[in-house]
Every structure is written in structure tokens, then in C-alpha cells.
Amino acid sequence: MAERERRRRRLDRSIKVRTGGLYALSSWSEMAYLLVPRVVLIGGLLVLPLFVDMYWQRVLCSAGIYALLAVGFDFLAEYVGLVCLGGAFFIGAGGYISGLLNAHFGLHPFFSIPIATVAGAIISTLVLLPCLRLRGIYFAIISFMFPLFAVYIIIALNVFGSTEGISALDTLPNIWTEIYLIFAAVILALFALRRLVNEDIGIILKGIKDNDQSVRASGIDITAYKTRAVFIAALIGCFGGAYLSHLYGWLGLSLFAMDFSILPIAATVLGGMGSLVGPVLGAFILTPMSEALRGFGQLRVVLYCLILIAFMVYKPEGLMNFLERKYHQFEAWVEV
């Protein structure tokens, strides 16, 4: 007697197929199908701060920073093939530059933040540049080392406030500016990157990730493209750092903390690598969780890492990809 086996069959929902091209504009229900997720995302972000108290609003600001880092990490890892283990370097670069501009030159955050974002990105890219010609593993190693080196060097040269840091920086006007500024940045980064990866440059970067020899043979200077990608991710990260230094009004070595390197990675794996939105989701899940566990000290990091590994081994697609799949496809068990 033959054994009946089952397998899962996944088909795109008909509404997904209908909305695949221009036809999406042809009916309300189809437009809603496409717009609802985006509206929920943006609306959710805009509305959420109104429902929580001051303490948690501050937490949302942190979550925003981690979300920026996570989006940058996801972009570099899944769309360019570069694993950045040192997001803290961007935070530190942006934070220190902005803080120093503010403390020593009296520049208002309105000016110091943008300048720090760009300057920090330039410096970060220059620092990472030597390893872009090499295989991806070098990037991972170097990016891991640099936040730690930055700390050692700042201590060694005894500059920038060394271990005490610099305090009494200007802070942002009020809590609402703080929250909506970072959320605006997250949404901007998200949509900009989403757009970017569908443009030619995104295709080339994906090509570099898939098969860089072929890209070189097609006349493209892959180092130049990788540099552009790193610069973009650095812009995003450095903005977060510049913002952070004015959120709490001080800068110090903790801007280079390992936390800024690892939480975005955990958020990305949890949220769904490659989806760009997933990392944001992951950041907004992990940050409040980390806050709630503040009393347990370093247990938080251990926990993110355990979650990261669990997801990586058992559910590598992550939450967002899982949700997207459910939204776009339906499954059925089919007898074989």
C-alpha cells in the first residue's frame, strides 16, 4: 500500500498577482492591498508615541536609532554582501563629531547634526576603504575591530574628553521633536533604500553580492560601488550617532559600545534579513525588551545573541519575511 505523503504548496494569492503591475490601480481593494501595510507601518510609527509615557517615549527614540543601524546593516549584508560587525563605529563617529562641533564651536544641533552625518560618513568610509578591495571576510573583521580601536586610541591620545566624555551639549527642543525626528529619519531611510535597491545601482550591488567576478567582467568597478554602498549605510548610522549625542546632551566612549553593533544585527535576523522593514520591526521589538531587562545587566546581550542564533538556525527567514509570505501567498497541504 502506497504511503501518502504531503507537501506544502504555496501559491500567490490572486490579489497579489492582480496587483503585480499597472493593474494595481484598477480597483480600491487592490490599492488597499498594496497600501495597507505601508499605511500601518507609517501610521503606527506616527501614532505610537502618543500612547506611551515619557519614559517609554525615550525608549522609542533609542529604538529609532537601533532601527536606523539595523536597516543599514541589512542593506549592506543582504544587498551588497558586506557583513558590518561594527555599527558602533558609525554611532561613535557621528556622535563625537556632532558633539565636538557643538561643544567647541557652539554650532546648534540644527547645523551640527547634518554636518556630523556627512563628515562622519566620509570618515567611516575612508577608514573602511582599504578592505573593500578584498574579500568580504576582511570587511567583517575590520568593521568589528574599528569601534574597539577607536576607544583605545581615544584613551591613548587622551583627546575628546577621553574616558569622561564631554557633557552639557545642547539637547533637542522637546520630546516631540526628538521622537518624530528619528522616526522621520527611519521612514526616510527605509523608503530611500527600498527605492535604491530597485534602481540600477541596487541591481549592480546585488550582482556584486551574487557573483562579483561577473560584474567585474562586465566593466563595472566593484570597489567604487561598494564604497558608495558603505557611504550610504554610514550616512544612516552617523545620523543616528549625531542625533544620540544631542538626545542626552553628552558624548563619551559608550557611543562605541558593542551594544550598538550587536542589537541591530539581532534585530535584523529576528525581523527578517533582506526585507529592510523587518530590521525596523526587530529593533522596535528588541529595544523595549532590552529596556525592560535593564536590571539584569549583561543578560540582555546574551539574550539578543541567543535569539539571534535561534532564529538563524531555525527560522532564518525572520518575522517580516514570514509575515510577507503569509500576506502574499496561501499555503495548502497537498497530497502527493
Binding site: 576582511y138 568589528f144 567576478q213 542564533i309
Partner: protein, 294 residues
Amino acid sequence: MDILIYGTVNSVVFALIAVGFTLVYGVARVPNFAHGSIYVLVGFLTWSFVNDFNLHYALAILISLIIAALLGLIIYRFVLMRLRGMPTSEIISSFAVSLIILEGLRMQGIAGFKGFIGPFYMLQPFIEGKISVLGVYVDYQRLIIIGAGLAVVALLWLFTRYTKTGLSLRAIAQDERAAMMLGVNSDRTAMISLAIGSALAGLAAVIILPLGNVTAEAGYKVLIYALAVCIIGGLGSWAGAVLASFVIGFAMKISTALFGALWESVVLVGTIILILLFKPSGLLGKQKELEERV
């Protein structure tokens, strides 16, 4: 003159730290970021066995090394093996494992765990006292380090040349597909290499840590040193790793003598950047920057 002695000691320290990492990378093509954390873990375990369980020192060391090897095996079997072939995932998870161990050692207050911070943990040197070598007073421990370094390198050389397992490690390192076709099990070899690599990390720990304290931060430093040696020497090159250890070891000691201890890290960073700019595949790197992968 004392620069010569201390420079040599420093270089051998680097070499001992890097050798386990190079082994794992050369064979399994996986950068074992957990290398530094296993180093510290072994230090802590040994201390714990000696002080909390009152075991004999040598026994404590032996058990800790075995635990390290087992840990290496477990890491491969349950995490890395499932992620083979996806380099992004391999790197991320090995990094995560390293943090679990290192930050875990820093935890405090869970089930009475005191946490592993502060300069209170010290391992005893094997032989106390100093001896005069070429007019410089050197601790016995430091001489032991040099001796151990030579012994480790010699033993590894013999192992990879004359034992079946060792040869299979070398085979996989040279050409994975060919070795697999000849019947070498790639997963098993990777597990073995991770076990040996971790044990080597532990060995380095028990020999070197008696010079100072055991702290969790050292885990990051050790990892950075191992990575630096590999980059400067060339990823995957044994001779390069040894050469790089000496280059870095002496460079750092010389800079300490001239500029002061805090400049060590500046020198290290500078050397790395110089190599990346001028000879990216490392001093003796055999691999091209972007190889033709066929």
C-alpha cells in the same frame, strides 16, 4: 637588550593566540569569532576549579582544555554546521556566540553568579621567580611561554604531517572538493579543527594569563590580536601568522619603549592599515585579494 627578550615573549604570545584561529580558518573557512571568548572562558574555568573546587592546578587545566575542545565541537555541530555555505550567516552567528560567552561571563546577580569583572581573578604562574637571561631579569613564566610556543608549533607541524587526522586537515585546507572526493569528511574535519582550535585557545590562556589578571575584556583584546595577526600575516598562511606575530610583537614593544604603553593600539591599527593599503593579502598571503572562484 630587554626589548629583545620582551619582544620575543610578546611575539610568542601573539603566535600562541593566533595559531588556533588560523587553524580553524584555514580548515573550516570559518572565522571563529568565539576564539577570544573561549580563551577567557578557560581562564575563568581554571581559576574556578582551583579556587572554588580546590582541584590540583594541573588537573584543573586539563579539564578546562577538554571543556574548551568540547565547546568547539558543540559550536560547530549545533550552530555552524547548519549554516555552511552561507558566509554572512556563519560570520554573524560566530560573532553572536562569542558575545554570549563574553557578556555572559560579565553577568552579575543571576543565581548568585558573581560575574567576572574586576581585577580579582589571577592564575598562578607555573614556576615562581625570575632568572637572569643575557643580563635581563625575566620571569620563569615568560620563558615557559617561549618554550611552550615552540613546542606547540613543533607539535602541530608533526601532527599535520604525520597523523591521519592532521593530514586530512591539511587536505581540506588546501582544496576542499578534492579532499572530499578522496573520502575526507568535511564536516567531521571542521569539527575536529574547531575542537583543536578551541583547545589551543585555552592552552594559550593558561600559559599567558598567569602573567596578569583574568578579565572578560581580555576576550575582545585577544580576538583583535588574533585577527590582526591573521590579516597582517595573510589569512590562511601559517608562516605568515608566525611572521606577523613577530612583526607586531616587536613593533608594539618598541613603541612602548619609545612612546609609552598607551600607544600600542595606535601602532597596531597603523600596521593593519598599512598592510591593507600596500600588501592586502598579507605579508605571506598566498591568496589573491579577489580570487577567481571557479
